[in-house]
Symmetry: C2
Subunit: 233 residues, 2 copies
DNA sequence: GTTCGTTTCAAACGATCGTTTAAAAGGAAA
DNA sequence: TTTCCTTTTAAACGATCGTTTGAAACGAAC
């Protein structure tokens, strides 16, 4: 048996999604199955309300498998979050790079910067096979446990660094501080809409029936105007 | 002993904050102490991560007191939420009514409608003695348990009904559907900012140091422009 | 077939959960 | 003081929690 206790419990998880254990062979199936089921249950019910027994029974694996592969529930949460966020942020970056190439040598239009930032959100949260991932991210901001926010912030930071200069170029009338404010508002609108769009349907008595394309257009129109509003500069 | 089991467990909680038990006398102290402590712990750690033992020990009351006065943890959550939301929404309405009187017979300017809707949020979440309440409301949208969302929606509905005609009057260029979309975006920005403003400080590396007044001005500028953006009408 | 490292398994660990119970304590009315 | 109802209390209920254990099952190497 592999000794799992020598590994740091507060594991920094190293550079990426590396499993808690060194494992090779057919185990990959169990490992991945746990990740997939955990992602769905965490998204649906929250972290603390999801039990390891709920995960393992739905995944059809033994209860001890989670601690065998991930060491602890806390580390499982970190792995689930990291895996969920990564491809999502990669899509943002590839959209932005495409927009940069297309606009070269001119600055990227604001709408296209916003599109690259936001489109992956709604592409995800209206896809029945992936919507749980976005719910998961929205939930992770409100959930107890500081280590959860750390994961989200760690993944968000390089995205911000890449988008920031293009926002500054597109919004020369704003101070850097104002850009941060309005970007924060925009992300709030995106996250809230992505996670709670059923509330919009409810509030409008069915008048608004959000889907990916319509939601994207509506929020880009709104955010573009909000960001372009006069600043103090 | 009062028989508590004949009362409906899935209690609709009647018309308001009425306690689970009919009680009169000095008990009010225990009852209120539970509500106050529960509010703080729910806000800080979430509903399912907060235990009854944690509540009662911090409140200095007996463990059984919660079930005696509230019947169940679920009903305690409902009571805490309802009590927290009510004065907050009353402040919104009184601000709106003041703005109506001032503008009479002209329509209320959009900025003032937004001010009435938003100001109580930031008045609350930057007040150290009340900030937990807003965190609680933001959390309640993401938390497991459908009954939680029901409470929030029930309290939100009359607010929407009262504000809606003034939004329509101030935004004649938008369809009703578009107004709902953009109002939803605005509330997303408000809730996200109110609940996670420390993330803004982090993201801006300390450049943005939100306080009630500054946050209010920034978000009203942003949301006004977003709502006034051209529509499809 | 035997060996050895990996993975799975059933079972149990101690801890904590929300809730219930029956008795004790308290306090006003008689 | 006695009565009656309200409130508080300590203790226990069964259930579930995350985690650990040691043995069984598996699969390649020899």
């Amino acid at each position: 048996m592999v000794d799992v206790k020598n590994t740091e419990s507060k594991s920094e998880a190293g550079a990426g999604p590396l499993p808690h254990n060194v494992h090779s062979g057919p185990h990959a199936e169990t490992y991945q199955r746990i990740l997939n089921v955990a992602e769905g249950l965490f998204a649906k019910n929250g972290f603390s309300a999801t039990s390891m027994r709920g995960i393992t029974s739905e995944a059809g694996v033994n209860l001890a498998s989670v601690n065998y592969y991930f060491g602890s529930k806390e580390n499982l949460i970190v792995q689930v979050l990291s895996r969920a966020i990564r491809p999502f942020n990669e899509e943002r970056l590839s959209h932005l790079n495409a927009a940069i190439s297309k606009s070269m040598p001119n600055p990227v239009p604001l709408q296209e910067v916003l599109h690259a930032l936001i489109q992956p959100c709604f592409n995800m949260c209206f896809d029945p096979t992936k919507q749980q991932v976005f719910q998961l991210m929205g939930r992770s901001l409100s959930e107890e446990g500081e280590f959860i926010k750390e994961v989200v912030n760690k993944e968000w930071h390089p995205i911000l660094a890449k988008f920031n200069p293009h926002l500054r170029a597109a919004l020369p009338h704003l101070t850097e501080e104002e850009i941060f404010w309005r970007l924060h508002f925009t992300m709030g609108a995106v996250i809230h809409t992505g996670c709670h769009h059923q509330q919009l349907t409810l509030m409008s008595a069915g008048l608004c029936r959000p889907d990916g394309a319509r939601t994207l257009k509506q929020i880009i129109d709104y955010a573009t105007a909000g960001l372009l509003a006069p600043g103090s500069k």
